[in-house]
């Protein structure tokens, strides 16, 4: 592809860059050009391939195929050291600093070991002055704020006099004031003719400081544009995809009683990488499919944990299942009340890979199907035959393709295992089913089978909650849509009244009322980490 205003020989030119992990293409024939003195944005959702791409540019990963040219010459970047030598610097999202050392000592670690510390301190001071990045070389890192720590990383990159600086989600950890300062520095770098590759999914700041943008989706370039000519809505559409399936609105199910209700539930984050849930309320009725949309890591797993009872909440009335308050009830208690759950992660959460399918059936139903599956009273002897025949029933109902009668869960493909895991719950005919990312990483055939099963379950009078990142899927099956962002859940909207743009904006944390303002994003670092985790 060609761009207006790019010089004949761009600083960095990437052609057909591909990175395969097994058979999965994290980056698929990516083309990218970065001109001299340009701030270039790399946009995309989590998992779109942004990090993989820049890791290849910085020599952390090796591409499976494709070429990288620097100032017209093809280069191979085997290591970050070589990348630095070629004039590429990078500031990672998660800093690599030793807290017990001083600023100058930390910088010295990445430089020629023969350079005396005093000289480094001097250069650090002068570079930090020149770029408006105030830093005391003798300060201990442990005493510094996050913004100051980021400055160390930037100064460290600048000391090597790079032509291209890659910044990975730099503002995700900064306060608005610190972000302002960063933008000034970037403008100064640009004025000197250095180029910046700026990774973000915060649309306003990209519009504000970037000259051009490349948008990635599912490892492919889906758009290249001048962000200033676009609206946040059109950028969002490029990020989440344009090809939305025709909304199939079958004759609306007759809605019955509210089967599951969540009342103003707040949950503090359990780990530093988790998202706190803030004042979440939702209701789902018999016959309804409620979809919860959102970018990964905005509290979906935490919401699932709270609703499923894997981590009960302190407020017993916060969750009401078929008229009974169950907030403090554990998962098996909720199953006994007729709820079924399908977590996002298949291996090691919904199923144990090394165990057979029949064992994995017992995993979810040892309590709810005690009568059918266990014998011997307190001895709790497992009735193999009953479980095996139930597993066979599920496999034929969901068309699970497998080798052998009772193979291990790990030997099934993702789609077939997911069909089994969903079928395991459907087989019980739950009156409430909560599914997190029902078709994540599942082939198209299995995905449509699973979606059909969810729609049919609702039609039969159950309440279904589908937590999903896949907007196509949401529009295909949901009657009602709510969006989760940064641990907050939006109002529910009837699926017919919501446009893709509106969802995109809600997902980015921008609400209708103040779309021009800065979105809140202090927890973004946590959310990215939760995603990686």
């Amino acid at each position: 592809m060609t761009f207006e205003g790019v010089e004949a020989s761009p600083l960095l030119s990437v052609r057909g860059l591909t990175k395969l992990f097994g058979s999965f293409a994290a980056c698929d024939t990516i083309d990218l050009d970065i001109g001299h003195g340009e701030i270039h944005a790399l946009l995309g959702e989590n998992g779109a391939g942004k990090s993989t791409l820049v890791k290849m540019l910085f020599g952390v990963l090796q591409p499976s195929s494709g070429t990288v040219s620097l100032e017209g010459k093809p280069v191979v970047i085997p290591s970050p050291g070589e990348a630095r030598r070629l004039g590429i610097g990078m500031v990672f999202q998660h800093f690599s600093l030793f807290e017990a050392l001083t600023v100058a000592e930390n910088i010295a670690l990445s430089l020629d070991p023969r350079t005396p510390l005093a000289k480094i301190a001097e250069e650090t001071a002068s570079v930090s002055r020149a770029y408006g990045l105030p830093l005391d070389p003798s300060a201990h890192v442990a005493d510094l704020s996050v913004g100051e720590r980021q400055r160390i990383e930037i100064v460290r990159a600048l000391l090597q006099n790079p032509k291209l600086i890659i910044l990975d989600e730099p503002t995700s950890v900064l306060t608005p004031q610190e972000a302002e300062r960063l933008f000034e520095t970037l403008m100064r770098l640009k004025a000197e003719g250095r180029s910046v590759l700026y990774i973000s999914h915060r649309l306003e700041e990209v519009q504000r400081i970037c000259d051009r943008a490349t948008v990635l989706r599912h490892g492919k370039v889906t758009g290249a544009c001048d962000p200033r000519q676009e609206t946040p809505a059109s950028l969002a559409r490029m990020m989440v995809g344009t090809e939305v399936a025709e909304v199939k609105r079958d004759s609306a199910n007759a809605l019955g009683d509210v089967l599951l209700q969540v009342n103003k539930v707040s949950v503090a984050s359990r780990t530093p990488f988790a998202v706190a849930l803030k004042d979440i309320s939702l209701k789902v009725r018999a016959g309804e499919v409620l979809a919860i949309a959102g970018i990964a890591g905005n509290g979906q797993s935490e919401l699932f944990d709270a609703i499923s009872g894997e981590y009960p909440i302190s407020d017993n009335d916060g969750i009401v299942l078929r008229g009974k308050p169950v907030g403090r009830l554990r998962i098996n208690g909720r199953r006994l009340l007729g709820a079924g759950f399908v977590p996002e992660e298949r291996h090691g959460h919904a199923a144990v890979s090394a165990l057979s399918l029949s064992d994995n059936l017992l995993l979810a139903r040892s309590r709810s199907d005690k009568k059918a599956f266990l014998a011997g009273g307190p001895l709790a002897i497992v009735k193999r035959d009953a479980i095996l025949s139930a597993a066979r029933r599920i496999c034929s109902m969901m068309d699970v393709r497998k080798s052998g009668d009772d193979p291990t869960a790990g030997s099934l493909s993702g789609g077939n295992l997911q069909k089994f895991i969903v079928g395991r719950e459907l087989d019980r005919q739950p009156s409430v089913l909560v599914v997190n990312q029902p078709t994540w990483g599942v082939d198209a055939g299995a995905a449509s089978r699973i979606r059909q099963a969810l729609v049919d379950l609702a039609k039969a009078g159950s309440a279904v909650i589908v937590i999903s990142q896949d907007l196509d899927e949401i529009f295909e099956i949901a009657a009602t849509i709510a969006v989760i962002s940064d641990g907050r859940l939006s109002e529910p909207y009837p699926a017919g009244e919501l446009t893709l743009e509106q969802i995109g904006l809600l997902m980015g944390g921008i609400h209708d009322s103040h779309s021009g303002e800065k979105s809140s994003g202090e927890d973004r670092a946590g959310m990215e980490a939760a995603h990686a985790h």
Binding site: Q62, P74, V75, V76, P78, S79, E82, S308, E310, R330, I331, N332, R335, F341, P343, E345, G348, H349, A350, A351, V352, S353, A354, L355, D359, L362, L363, A364, S366, R367, L374, L379, A380, I381, V382
Partner: protein, 362 residues
């Protein structure tokens, strides 16, 4: 250049079964080399070490005596390890079990009642379980590493025993030897056969192994153990409590180690002395792994490791080499078992200077 372990696509079922036998064969080869280096005839030495002890009735009894604590402890540990709780301190639980079990005969040497022996065994189990409860408490309460805490408690237990038999429990008529009075006959674990010393300990071991095999194979409890051991998250999804499993597995293995301890003191030694174990609690870890963490496999591996102890004694007598050689054999077995298992799941790949290789390409 660097060496990488690369996961194999599919693991050979045949070699998974053969792995323990392969490890034993490799141990014998390494042992032959070692004997050769010591200037002894390798084959003759191996014969003395591994075959001769099996030829006498009395030494078969000794074999059962040594296998009993190994099997008892190892089956408990196998449940622990399968549930991903790493109790390394069975030696300490063994020692404490021996101490608490000996309270009655030591403090009431004149109590001649058939009740005393069952009470001793129960108290031994309780003592071992409570001692294993310390790392369980620390793990569930403060998330401490049970490997470290259980291991450190071993030394505390051993020193406590040492102090007891040199101080308050020392037999006043014992010519100042650091040991207690000999137990009254009612407090001694009976022998099974007239032909030798083997006592009820081996029966306890076999019963425990069969019971735990049944539990692991057929009961929901065994299913919980393997689910929580493989994925705590999946266990939580199933509604199983990882915290309760820490308690269950630690208390169970502690109780069995304690039972082994009091059986050893009551059945084999007959009194309490500063050293009551040649490292059964640690050797049992090898037994557990050599038996593939399967209680039935552990019965077999328990006898194999017991043979290394007997062989060590035989080597000392007939070959004139230190009985430390039995430790060497135990180490060799563990090493080869673990490496065979690793190589079943991984292949070794040498990577010669990756950056140079790539620059060459461009």
């Amino acid at each position: 250049m660097r060496i990488e372990l690369q996961k194999r696509g599919n693991t050979s079922v045949l070699f998974s079964v053969l792995s323990p036998l392969l490890a034993l064969a490799l141990t014998l080869i390494a042992g032959a080399i070692m004997f050769g280096l010591l200037g002894k005839s390798p084959l003759n030495s191996l014969y003395i070490y591994f075959v001769e002890p099996l030829l006498d009735v009395w030494s078969l009894h000794e074999l059962a005596i040594k296998a009993a604590p190994l099997i008892l402890i190892a089956v408990g540990l196998s449940v622990c390890f399968r549930s991903n709780n790493w109790n390394i301190g069975a030696e300490g639980q063994f020692t404490i079990g021996a101490i608490t079990g000996s309270i009655l005969p030591v403090l009431n040497p004149e109590w001649h009642s058939p009740l005393i022996l069952p009470l001793m065994l129960i108290m031994g189990m309780i003592g071992g379980a409570l001692y294993a409860g310390i790392p369980a408490l620390l793990k569930t309460r403060f998330n401490t590493n049970e490997i470290l805490t259980s291991l450190m408690l071993v030394y505390i237990a051993q020193l406590f025993l040492d102090w007891l038999v040199r101080g308050p429990w020392r037999d006043p008529q014992g010519y100042n030897f650091p040991q207690t009075k000999s137990f009254q006959p009612e407090a001694v674990l009976p022998e099974i056969l007239d032909s030798g010393r083997a006592h009820l300990g081996i029966v306890f071991a076999l019963i425990a192994a069969l019971a735990l095999w049944f539990m692991m194979r057929f009961m929901l409890k065994g299913f919980q153990v393997s689910v929580l051991g493989q994925s705590e998250r999946a266990g939580r999804f199933a509604g199983f409590s990882a915290r309760k499993m820490v308690w269950f597995s630690m208390l169970l293995s502690g109780a069995l180690a304690g039972l082994a301890g009091i059986s050893e003191v009551s059945g084999s030694i007959g009194h309490v002395q500063p050293v009551i174990s040649p490292g059964y609690g640690f050797t049992a870890i090898i037994v557990a792994f050599l038996g593939r963490l399967n209680p039935l496999g552990i019965i077999a591996s328990g006898f194999v490791l017991a043979l290394t102890y007997l062989g060590g004694e035989a080597a000392q007598l007939s070959l004139g080499i230190s009985d430390k050689v039995s430790r060497v054999f135990q180490g060799l077995i563990l090493f080869f078992v673990l490496s065979c298992d690793t190589l079943i799941h991984y292949r070794i790949r040498l990577i010669l200077n990756p950056s140079a290789a790539q620059e060459g390409k461009s």
